[in-house]
Symmetry: C2
Subunit: 218 residues, 2 copies
């Protein structure tokens, strides 16, 4: 599949790299074509990897991944262009952590709204699915290192889009029965507001390489 990955950070590079490895054609998007990190990534990732502007990447992709910082995501998607997102599955991986007032970070949106909802409202023709924001980049793309009982929560308004995202996640190594569909796009408040707990568990364990598994009665 042709996939556009917006963002050149650790999350964008991890997802884009894994997608190329799985045989997809990937264009990494950044503010301007020729971004140093994106060019270096594309050279190293090899066949199937390219780079360009946010609009180039979104236009290229049949599926688009928002791997930018939450505070920048709406602006980035505006630059990518509504016409380049219309009708496409848009996986929103971003978190709304705001470090501007020091540690611990605040969430810039929470409670009765979420970033995923803001994106869906701003781009009504995109088929937004929230996914992967609850784990660190290395776990996103190689969950098997944590065994088979950790969960990944997805949500969105479009059933077909969620099914397609679930397939991509399974190709990363997530068990089908652990990709948990928690409902429509407003459910994104759940995984987004989980971040303060995630950060505290991270601080306690001293490693970001963890996840949670849902445990029911035996």
């Amino acid at each position: 599949m042709r996939i556009g990955v917006l963002g050149t950070g650790v999350v964008g590079q991890s997802i884009a790299g894994r997608l190329v490895e799985l045989g997809h054609e990937v264009t990494m998007g950044s503010r301007q074509a020729g971004n140093e990190k994106a060019v270096a990534w594309a050279a190293e990732a090899g066949d199937g990897a390219g780079e360009g502007s946010f609009a180039d990447a979104a236009g290229f992709g049949e599926l688009v991944v928002n791997a930018t910082a939450g505070g920048a995501s709406l602006e980035v998607l505006e630059a990518a262009g509504a016409e380049n997102l219309a009708g496409k599955v848009l996986i929103d991986v971003a978190n709304t952590l705001d470090f501007s007032q020091g540690m611990p970070p605040r969430l810039s949106v929470s409670n009765d709204d979420s970033l995923a909802e803001q994106i869906q409202r701003a781009f009504p023709e995109a088929r937004v699915v929230k996914a992967l924001n609850t784990v660190t980049a290395s776990v996103m793309v190689r969950p098997g290192a944590l065994g088979k009982s950790s969960n990944l929560f997805i949500c969105g308004d479009d059933e077909g889009a969620k099914a397609q995202v679930s397939e991509v996640l399974q190709s990363f190594g997530w068990s089908a029965e652990r990709v948990t569909d928690i409902g429509d796009i407003s459910a994104a408040r759940g995984p987004e507001m989980y971040l303060p707990l995630w950060l505290r568990i991270y601080g306690t364990l001293g490693t970001a390489e963890f996840n949670i598994g849902v445990i029911t009665r035996q």
Copy 2:
């Protein structure tokens, strides 16, 4: 030990009942002594169970449990009396769910504050420990039904208080290595803000009898 449990709902009754079963003397507190539910509970729970006002229960307890609704907790603790809480371990089990604007509920406090912090600020001489708000009442007091790998997060400013709460939790059946101390009282934002995700998992599973376990690299 003598324990005061504030609140007569399912959470209060579950915790108070389990504590009596474990051999503690428990006074259940409510707005007025003679509360119908508290009287019925005390009669059924038998030896060691009593009831009274919030102040009676807090005064009686060497340890106090806040098992009231989050929106009422500060007022309840005011009625219990700062002098009856001073120097004592106060386990805050409450969630700040506000259903007044419909479903899904909002959190009445979140992001850069939490109920546990509000309680600690209002009652500086109490030794507040946040615990148990991340699971349903039956799981709180009998976690073994979910196996041994689910986690319970505790936090607070007083190390001795957390150690004492951990002992109580272990007597309920929580594994010592799964009672996870995530830090000072401000860490309570984590487990409190986890509730929207908890509610969505609950909706997906169709049962509240679940918990999450932290999974690290094998």
